[in-house]
Amino acid sequence: MKLLRLTPENTKFPFMRFRRVSYPFSAVMSIISVLLFIFHGMNFGIDFAGGTVLELRAKNGVADVAMLRNLGDNLGLGGVEVQAFGNQSDVTLRFGLQPGGDAAQEAAVQKVRAVVQDGYDIRRTEVVGPRVSGELVQSGTLGVVLSIFAVLAYLWFRFEWQFAVAAVIATMHDLLLTVGFFSLTQLEFNTTSIAAILTIVGYSLNETVVVLDRIREMMRKYKRMPTDQLVDMSINAVLPRTLMTATTVLLALAALVFFGGHVIRSFSLAMTWGVCVAVYSSIFICSPMLIYLGLRTDGRERASTAEQATAEAPEPAR
């Protein structure tokens, strides 16, 4: 049986030459992401913005979107966002935080419920008060920051500092671009999105570590090779694996996007984007960074790699 190969055997792409293109490109993309975040903003879900979401299904099969839109004015709740998805009967209704603290949110829901419950089944209700949403923002931010520091520490411990810094820069790059993606697409940003971002951080580092691992190995083997050649060789060596794994993950994610239902669609889309960015950055951002950070394969550095090699000799049982 002829087996499928995504990559030709023994590729020798000069990836490092692309750093003159990839760095300006990524810089521009990052700046665009920041600008989007500042000027276009994020579509924060009620987890972070506070407010109420009701998911309704019309009992007669057709939702009266116009009536639901006017509900906000009629009940004095401010703007009501009505979103239809897929079929005619299902809509989500979202309105913002009501002035007057936590109790006011509950009162608003009761009002809406009273109006819609004759014509619609209420399939989901989510009410997040002002204080809880504030706390969710805090813990979400804390989680992302903590994970970056934890990984920085781990990589520093396992590799040399240039590797840790390069990995973290690549991860921040992926984070920024993911934020930009959320802003551009206006996908709802909620606690599941934080889960997506942390998973992207994990995946991005996973990619990066595989490349860095090989670079380290090559460094020990070819002590006199110039860094850019060495990095190129390492990337080409792991290229089949990188593309293979990215494909399996993307296949799984495609299944989630198309069949996983609307509740987790924004999660699945963000993950798909994040995986692509992570593969790109592990090759074009992280690895060239080692050259800029002055990783050298001769002289002084050789002593430290030799040290590290002996220090790692009694590795755990496999």
């Binding site: 998911e55 606690t191 994990g202 580092l205 996973n206 570590v209 060596a237 694996r241 069949f259 996983g260």
Partner: protein, 530 residues
């Protein structure tokens, strides 16, 4: 590489079998499961994996004890205590007792009385903190004597905290009684943080009823309706359920605490829904006294500051029981009976977060999750097959066991399966084969460099292992942080991701290696099939 100790093979097979047993209950239809369960000893762990509220439907409500209202009650009690002490000690007060947000102040008419009342006032404070642990902290009340007979008493921060903590504990008890009366299966009521209570009721259809039960303090009072010309200081206007207000005396005749039972019923004459109640001995006595003295006058039944009804006392009520009528529906009469039986909440509770999912949407999510999982798994399996052939079969077998182990792990630690959790599992299907891919590609590479088959296999596994560990640790760190910071569904995602990482190392590394070793021994290949 070839030597694979028999005990290792046996233990891997045993582990897989155990995992299968753990997952089995979740796979069987409910009827089969219950019939098997009835034949098993009750300690046997034969339970399906718990589904999260987002999948089975249900209500998640986060309540917060209203700290300002706790403080307000504390200050009011403090004022009453101070007044009592002044009266008992016969100490004159000039200008009454002033109340502020955090305490009260009083000016003694004769500053020389200071020495007499100070010890009494100081005794009002109680030690805060956990007395059992011997950590008697600061007093709950600060007493500061000032110039010219001025005394300031303020409730300390520790005092408020202490009260809030106790209010949470008491509220949990009351809420448990109320929710049990709803007949809900396995509600989960627990403290969260210092001043919050999390209530989770799975499978509940009608959440508005739940919220009614959670939201009302249910403080019931019987008071006399004020007569015209009564001292305005003793009277307050309370809103009536039917609308309008009614002047009611501030003094409470009998309180809800003195009730022993409350049941919904129907009025014999009007057949209107009512609530029948019975007092304990003390309450019955008080009620009898008051009604005997006030025949012909109306009294008000006040619930949470609202007058439900104000019937006229026709004759003394001495039997210790009575009824409340007030334009109830059958349901609202039933609710009130539940609330009165369960007792009043010690403080006002505010709903700060609510997430309810109807059973219909839950089932839709389960279906969507299943479909995504099947499609995702099928795609990955097919892709591994066309890429790696025989080795792809090994990877796919390992993948099957990997999924089995995730579910077994969840059943073992009693984790909850949520929709993001399913997404996490689908994601790990894509990522679990990464370890296989790393190993296989390395084997190919070593083979291309001219190593023999056996030596490439060996080198492939050995060299890829360090990379697998390093790359998975980073992913695991992200999952762990997500677990500790996330809540609810997101936590379910973290659990399945973390479990997936752990089991993928076991299955992709150890199991694949075992299969390849066995395969090599029997097939004796002359050429690597990848």
């Amino acid at each position: 590489m070839l030597r694979f100790a028999p005990w290792k093979i046996i233990s891997i097979l045993a582990m897989t079998f155990m995992a299968f047993l753990l997952v089995l209950p979740s796979l069987l239809p409910e009827a089969t499961r219950t019939s098997i369960q009835s034949h098993l000893p009750h300690w046997a762990p034969f339970k399906p994996i718990t589904l999260g509220l987002d999948l089975q439907g249900g209500a998640h409500v986060l309540l917060e004890v209203d700290t300002p209202s706790v403080l307000k009650t504390q200050v009011e009690n403090l004022r009453d205590d101070v007044r009592r002490i002044m009266r008992e000690e016969r100490v004159g007060v000039s200008g009454g007792i002033g109340m502020s947000a955090r305490g009260v102040q009083v000016r003694l008419a004769n500053p020389d009385d200071m020495a007499k009342v100070l010890p009494k006032l100081r005794a009002l404070g109680q030690p805060t903190g956990n007395v059992m642990l011997g950590a008697a902290g600061a007093s709950s009340i600060d007493v500061t004597p000032g110039e010219g007979g001025l005394i300031q008493l303020s409730v300390t921060e520790a005092g408020v905290q202490d009260k809030v903590r106790r209010a949470v504990d008491q509220s949990i008890e009351v809420l448990r009684r109320r929710i049990d009366a709803l007949g809900a299966t396995e509600p989960n009521i627990q403290r969260q943080g210092s001043d919050r209570i999390l209530v989770q009721v799975p499978g509940l259809q009608d959440t508005s009823r739940l919220k009614e039960l959670l939201g009302s303090t249910a403080k019931l009072e019987f008071r006399l309706v004020a007569e015209p010309g009564a001292n305005p200081a003793d009277v307050e206007n309370l809103p009536q359920v039917e609308g309008g207000t009614l002047p009611v005396e501030k003094q409470v005749m009998v309180q809800g605490e003195d009730l022993t039972d409350a049941q919904p019923g129907f009025d014999q004459r009007t057949s209107e829904p009512i609530v029948n109640f019975r007092f304990n001995i003390r309450g019955g006595q008080k009620f009898a006294d008051v009604t005997t003295k006030n025949v012909g006058k109306p009294f008000a039944i006040v619930l949470d500051g609202k007058v439900i009804s104000a019937p006229r006392i026709i004759s003394p009520i001495t039997g210790g029981s009575g009824q409340i009528s007030g334009h109830f529906t059958v349901e609202s009469a039933n609710n009130l009976a539940i609330l009165l039986r369960a007792g009043a909440l010690p403080a006002k509770l505010t709903i700060v977060e609510e997430r309810t999912v109807g059973p219909g949407l839950g089932q839709d999510s389960i279906d969507a999750g299943k479909r995504a999982a099947y499609v995702g798994a099928a795609l990955v399996v097919a892709y591994m097959l066309v890429t790696y052939g025989t080795f792809g079969v090994f990877a796919n077998l390992a993948l099957a066991v990997h999924i089995l182990l995730i579910f077994a792990g969840m059943a073992m630690i009693g984790a909850t399966l949520t929709l993001p959790g399913i997404a996490g599992i689908v994601l790990t299907i894509g990522m679990a084969v990464d370890a296989n891919v790393l190993i296989y590609e390395r084997i190919r590479e070593e083979n291309h460099m001219g190593r023999s088959i056996l030596s490439s296999l060996d080198a492939g596994f050995k060299r890829a292992f360090a990379t697998i560990v390093d790359s998975n640790v980073t992913m695991f760190v992200a999952a762990a942080i997500l677990y500790f910071l996330g809540a609810g569904p997101v936590r379910g995602f973290a659990v399945s991701l973390a479990l997936g990482i752990l089991t993928s190392i076991v299955t992709a590394v150890t199991m694949t290696r075992m299969m390849i070793a066995v395969w090599y021994r029997y097939a004796r290949p002359t050429k690597l099939p990848i």
